[in-house]
Amino acid sequence: MKRALIVLAIAATFAVTTFAEDVHIVYWQYFYQSKVDTIDLLIKQFEAKNPGITVEQVTFPYESYNQKLAAAIPAGEGPELVNLYYGWLPLYVKAGYLAELPKDSFGSEYFKKTYYNFVEQSAQFDGKYYAAPTAVRTLALIWNKNLFKQAGLDPNTPPKTLEELQSYAKKLSKYDNQGNLVQAGLAMQPNGQGHCWIREVLFRQFGATPYSANNMKVTYASPEGVSAFKWYTDLIVKDKVGYPNFGTDDVTAFVAQKVAMNIDGSFRIGTLNAVKGLDWGAAELPTYKGVKGNFASYWTHGIVAGTSGKKLDASVKFLKFITSPEAQELWLKNVGELPATPALSAAHKDDPYVSVFLKGLASAHATAYVDEAGQRKILVDAVDQVSLSKKDPGDVLKDAASKEQKLIDDFWK
């Protein structure tokens, strides 16, 4: 049986190599409808312009994406092109799974000229570049205008400060006669964008510095950091305006109009605009004592190490195409993420949605992750320990900081 299969496989390979001279490359990304659709569209355009090259897109659910990728690449089962979160780059580069981008088409000058500063810095390792993005993203406060109206609030005036955010959230929360939350004032989803909001925005707004200047030390467990963290967890424990995984997750609940406000990324514009009957708005993140803050991040495309010959040429060509100004514009239109080239972004500063996210960039920080999934889980668990296990926020945050410190130390060891 197995032998028959081998024979068949050999025959099939033979047939493919004899009859088709096309170069076939594979691109992997996690499943997010608007992104997947946009890449499909870009593939069509690319194939039309480049006869002889075919591109296949393969997707996986977000939670298993990183593991499928890391399992497949060393096995030689991986794709030629991968979509990676910038926070995963260190692990992949350190393990040698990404190819250095060719200097002639993606050199240092190109990166400096084309991309935002924080992108150029985080895609570069020892002077070499390993990945190029199409778009960048920041956070904003999004709110449901219908639910504002129902609660007697002005649907066009979102909260501007954290104090206002808290009082609005209370007004917008609804409970059944047992006291169960049936409409959340504010989504509390640390494993969505929540942990970034805490990490890079709330900590800083309350006066803490999350990491040391060289990013080697975790420094958020200061008294200021604890008060920021406590402010967040009090919304769950004391004010009961939301809790993690309410209605499956924040986006689901927002789409189902069971959540009035959420802190979410620009990539959600496309998704939310596609929902029928949802009247929503986006505003800059609330300030605290006059301090603004935001979190910037991006997904980026890399070429897998070991790609060579015609496949490498085709991959570079495709990478160039999906990071081109045209692709960046298309991405903004369909997905909602900001163009990774500053000049292209600036052209959209009058768009009501785009401008909000664009303004966020000015005060944004990007975390220098070493292990994004691991670092995320530490903060997610910290929030759960306060909200579900009723532990003291101060103790929990100190514990989280020492766990994260260990993760960082282990990585650089």
Binding site: K94, A95, D176, N180, N191, G247, L388
Partner: protein, 295 residues
Amino acid sequence: MTLSKKRALTAYGFLALPLLYFVAVRFAPMLYLTVMSATNWGLFNKKIKFVGIDNFAKIFADPVFLKSFGNTAIYTLVGTPAVIVLGLVFALELDKIRKYQAGFRLIYALPYITPVVAVSWVWRWMFQQPPFGVIDALLVSLGIPAQGFLNDPREALFCVVAVNVWVELGYCVIIFLAGIQTVPPQLVEAARIDGASERKITRRIILPLLRPITLFLVVMEAIQFLRIFTQVYNMSYQAQGGPLDSTKSAALFIYEKAFTNFDMGTAAAASLVLFAVIMVVTLLQLKFFDKKMDY
């Protein structure tokens, strides 16, 4: 060549391929795993080196490992007695009736044959909190406070146990019922003539005769619960065995170590620990098989 030699050769001929298979697909991998548990083998490591018992030291100092193996103990110690007792109770009830017995048996077997992945997602949907979940809606309508279920670290593990009991119950009921029906009717009749109550008949005659079957089921179910993976993977948020690792089982811990952290050496060490635990339970099973083979 003598006839017996010829027969022996035939026997070896018949056995050759399967034996080779067991060596290649069971014993050799097992050996490989044991060797690898003493290395820093990982997908992100290019050079493999020996680290002795470091991996074991590492996992026994890892609170998540301890938590997941502790959870596995709770799964087994709660789930096994629950499914055995319920299985026996329902089998005894089922034995009492004459009409629709086959129909009931059929319905009870349904969860057992359906894919665990599918039923896990169905239960996850039913376990949602207000305003989405059907079970909480039922509780609220009865005036009982809504529960956190899979969102509450104190309840989540028991929700997973309940679902697995639901899956395995039909299997136990059918086996117990078949056992009850092999009890010689004369024994029961004689006891009835002597004026024994139904309860007494159950306790003194039926239960002792069911002992071998009960033991068999205890061992089978204990192994089921010790190996629990699919339910936990599909019923927890992002397959992480949460909230706060409260549902993470030993098998899921191993899977995460190996295929999320790519720390194969540590995963191999943890597998060997799980193996030791399962072996103790399975040795009981073999002992029981041996006894049965005698008659």
